[in-house]
Symmetry: C2
Subunit: 304 residues, 2 copies
């Protein structure tokens, strides 16, 4: 893989940015990678573990001279950040981000992007329940999708460069518009997360079943919800607040369906339940066939 950018600036040093750094190094995609995090502790950790070629104490220093600046902060923090870096953005540079919501980011960041700077929002569909600068690894994006969401007037050449970066990080790349992105993600990620959070909260609240019992006996079903529900609280708060409409629409559909199944249970309609479960099983098969998960039993957790 050859070098695509001379200098990449990663702003915010959490799971995604740190994985990008290791992936950029793995493939030699950039000449230099600078990094900045608001928290002094995070910057110290980054320096200790060798995360970024140069960790800067100000965001302006990190961005200065970069031909790609990637905003890797929670969605709610992107607007003010863009405003802060705007004066030092190099003409011809590209600004991108990794936020889980796109319409809101475009509305918040777009107006601050100076003339002559390209703005190409992106969203890598990859993550784990861990967060922070020490949680990243080069392979995070391998074989995962990264969605580019070019805005009106996005330069095709700049978009091609960004695509090459993500492909170099191991991703498959697709493009779609912001509204559609936000709806697709509401279905595949945002609503499922809220549901998992809710179920975990219910279990914790239930006084007749102790937390110890919930935890000990969670092998089947509940355990998988807790993994989802362990993701970064700040990130997810911002996701729900900024993708409100699509998330609420999907949750509305969800409760409608759930009520129908609850009714089938209450009335003892075994046929309806069986048909429903048979259909969902086929969808799982489709995901395995599409290469987005392992067919190994129990996620290949290993046989321990």
């Amino acid at each position: 893989m050859s070098q695509i950018y001379d200098r990449v600036a990663l702003i915010g040093l959490g799971l995604i940015a740190s994985s990008m750094y290791w992936g950029i190094k793995r493939a030699g995609l950039a000449g230099e990678v600078t990094g900045f995090a608001r928290s002094e502790e995070t910057r110290a950790t980054a320096r200790r573990i060798g995360l970024c070629d140069r960790v800067c104490d100000t965001v302006q220093e990190a961005v200065d001279g970069a031909d790609l600046v990637v905003l890797c902060v929670p969605v709610g923090a992107m607007g003010p950040l863009a405003q802060e870096i705007a004066p030092v953005l190099m003409p011809g540079a590209t600004v991108s981000d990794v936020g889980s919501v796109k319409r809101h980011v475009i509305a918040d960041v777009g107006p601050h992007i100076p003339e002559g700077v390209h703005f190409i929002p992106a969203h890598p569909l990859a993550g784990t329940e861990h967060s922070g600068p020490e949680s990243g690894f080069a392979e995070l994006f391998d074989n995962r999708w990264c969605l580019l969401v070019p805005v009106e007037g996005s330069d095709p050449e700049a978009t091609a460069h960004l695509r090459a970066l993500w492909e170099g990080l191991g991703s498959k790349v697709d493009e779609m518009d912001a509204d559609h992105h936000d709806l697709v993600l509401a279905v595949t990620s945002h609503a499922p997360h809220l549901i998992a959070y809710t179920m975990v909260g219910v279990a914790d609240d239930l006084r007749r079943v102790t937390d110890t019992e919930v935890i000990q006996y969670s092998a089947a079903g509940f355990r998988d919800f807790t993994r989802i529900a362990a993701s970064d609280p700040t990130m997810w708060r911002d996701v729900f607040l900024t993708n409100k409409d699509a998330t609420l629409e999907i949750l509305g559909r969800f409760t409608e369906e759930l009520f129908a199944l609850q009714r089938a249970i209450r009335t003892g309609d075994g046929e309806q339940l069986f048909d429903y479960f048979t259909r969902t099983r086929a969808i799982r098969r489709g995901i395995i066939d599409a290469g987005q998960d392992t067919d190994a039993p129990d996620f290949g957790r290993g046989k321990a």
Copy 2:
């Protein structure tokens, strides 16, 4: 590990029974293991892969002379099965099961158990989304819980033997009464499964997002739901129909909480969301500390 039973009969040869067989062999827990499945195809498969020392063509033949008979069929099929085998049960033998619901099984199976035969319901909290005779493996129960639910008058010595079997299969064993079992499982397993089934169904129904998109972009969140929602439809239909009250109670609590979070999203109450997500993250930490899951990122799916 030494032999605990002379002859174990496994009735129904799916994931659980086949895993029990390989686990019994691994530890030498029984002199002989017979097996029976209603389907001729399943019996042929079992013979082909060497599942059970002896696969029988009638359930009576499999049960004849067994000092432990384990009912490994869907919960709804257990009553008729118990009635069928009752005449050939050996005095002093133990009948157990592996059903996910206990109150219903006790009500359906209990009346058919002859005088002098011990009935000790059990529920191993282990499984994968795969089913059938070829899905089992000896390590399935390792370090997982098995709940024994002795009924009134269960013989302590017979219970101790069954506990030894499950410990020999690698499980940790606990005892609780049937009502409490069914409530605990409604929280930790049954309600989460119904919710996962529902969410997968909603995604499939949504016409503006194609199935391909749902499948391709399901890395985050939704993918984990589909694993849960891929479990055996017959088994789960029976679970919901036979643990109706506890499941509906938990689902009621769930929708109540979900509505509260939906409202927080609608009104933009970021603090409530953040606090909720922070609390659920701590619960996840408890599960890892209790040794019921791996701390490896993304379930240790590996970095491919």
